[in-house]
Point group: C2
Chain length 278, copies 2
């Protein structure tokens, strides 16, 4: 991997890297924040998965996460939301399919399957690369994200038993099989049989008996996508039915933006630091 940018922030370094992804068969870009502590010793990692239309840049510019990561001594890894490049399939007229909308699944349908292998990318290829190349403690990682990336964080933690010390999400797409965003992407990437979608649907994974890991979710009550796309009530019902540990905080008056994320990112990173540093 090649470092293409390095910006000093909160005493640490916000770096950007490019590498040839074997999973996605294209050049991928991601950002990493290394806290001051990483200059002296290996640190734990929190993976952040971003939402529709984002690149690695949104969260690093808008969430205010680096301040907390600096104080807590944890690295942040911020991948892109899809494969990129002129040779990668896309729907140019849509923000919610194709580039910027990888949905953290391994596509099985063409033309998407050629590059859209984001699940393997974020759960396997990227952590292996990070652990080989950067001063992080191998295997000591947690995961969080926003919206489509909140969905991604939940399914990674629910599917990869023991891989993550903790998981949290901001306004996640909790039941993608039944919302417009999820139906559009799952139909394109996974095919028309909704049975194939269940393996990437947090609510379905809970219903199917996923291994236990506490879920910590913040959701704004004034989120413009709450009613039509996010369905936290479905996840909550599935958790109640299966006695699955869920902390769902409905945050009065907050919307879907990075201003909502900025408000609560500190509490999430403290939550992850406790799990990672104990």
């Amino acid at each position: 991997m090649k470092q293409i940018e390095s910006i000093k922030e909160f005493g640490g370094w916000l770096n950007r890297y490019q590498h040839a992804s074997a999973c996605c068969r294209c050049s991928m870009t991601f950002s990493v924040y290394l806290p001051p502590r990483a200059a002296k010793e290996q640190v734990p990692v929190v993976y952040w998965l971003s939402g529709l239309t984002c690149t690695d840049d949104n969260v690093r510019s808008k969430a205010g996460a680096q301040r907390y990561a600096s104080e807590l001594g944890i690295a942040l890894v911020m991948p892109d939301t899809s494969p990129r490049g002129d040779d990668v399939a896309d729907e140019h007229d849509r923000y919610d399919l194709g580039k910027g909308a990888g949905f953290y699944v391994n596509a099985t349908q063409q033309p998407w399957a050629a590059n859209y292998q984001m699940y393997d990318y974020v759960t396997k290829e990227l952590p292996e690369l990070i652990e080989a190349e950067l001063p992080v403690i191998p295997g000591l990682k947690s995961i969080t994200g926003h919206s489509m990336g909140g969905h991604g964080a939940l399914i990674c933690a629910l599917r990869e038993k023991g891989a993550y010390r903790s998981v949290s999400a901001f306004a996640p797409i909790c039941h993608p099989s039944v919302c417009g965003w999820g139906e559009g992407c799952f139909g394109a990437y996974l095919g028309n049989d909704p049975e194939a979608w269940q393996a990437y649907d947090a609510t379905a994974l809970i219903k199917a008996g996923a291994a236990e890991i506490p879920l910590f979710i913040d959701q704004g009550t004034s989120d413009e996508f709450l009613a039509d796309q996010l369905y936290p009530q479905d996840l909550e019902a599935a958790c109640r039915k299966t006695d699955f540990p869920l902390t769902l905080r409905m945050q009065e008056g907050y919307d879907h933006s990075y201003h909502f994320i900025a408000t609560f990112i500190g509490e999430h990173l403290v939550y992850h630091a406790k799990a990672l540093c104990k």
Copy 2:
């Protein structure tokens, strides 16, 4: 003035307003962060002046200032960097002249003079409007900013004796009369006689005997504009010669970006809160 957006953040409200500016003879947009404390009582205000190419949105999205303003109980007012609209003069091919580059001066030369009256706008019209319409303590204000806006903050505080309780700046253009950005804008807005520029040049104002107010400046040593545009050494020399109080912190390794601002904005807001709340 009309409220056009309201986003909850850190328990307070990030609002955006539009109004017909008498100074600038156009519709102007600005943002205000009202901390939770403003729901119960009037609060002091910190004005933030942004740099070249910015609108009111950059700082509110990228600086992480609202967290501190919430904790400290101070409002943030974030104006635009120039007049706007189809009828406003511009140089479409340049980022450093015209829209987005008002330089916080009152233009005297056409076509700029018709709208580019940003000095009066930020020092008079906007504070009057804010104090008439929002829950702020009249007259209790401080000012800060970045780059072109750091220059703006310095000249406002140096010219408006007693108007601001404190002033600070991030990587300000300290001596605009002798740098490319300043020469370009001052020449266009104020005419070709550099004598007319001195009234809007922090280094010149110090040399000319401005009323004393401590200057608090952070400047990154890896700032890509440090050598050619910012000239903190000229301001420092002028302050030393006149015994003017200056704290200039050269911050090792930091650049010109909002990542630099985010790192130090907390210290600046604490500095202003101390001056505003004593």
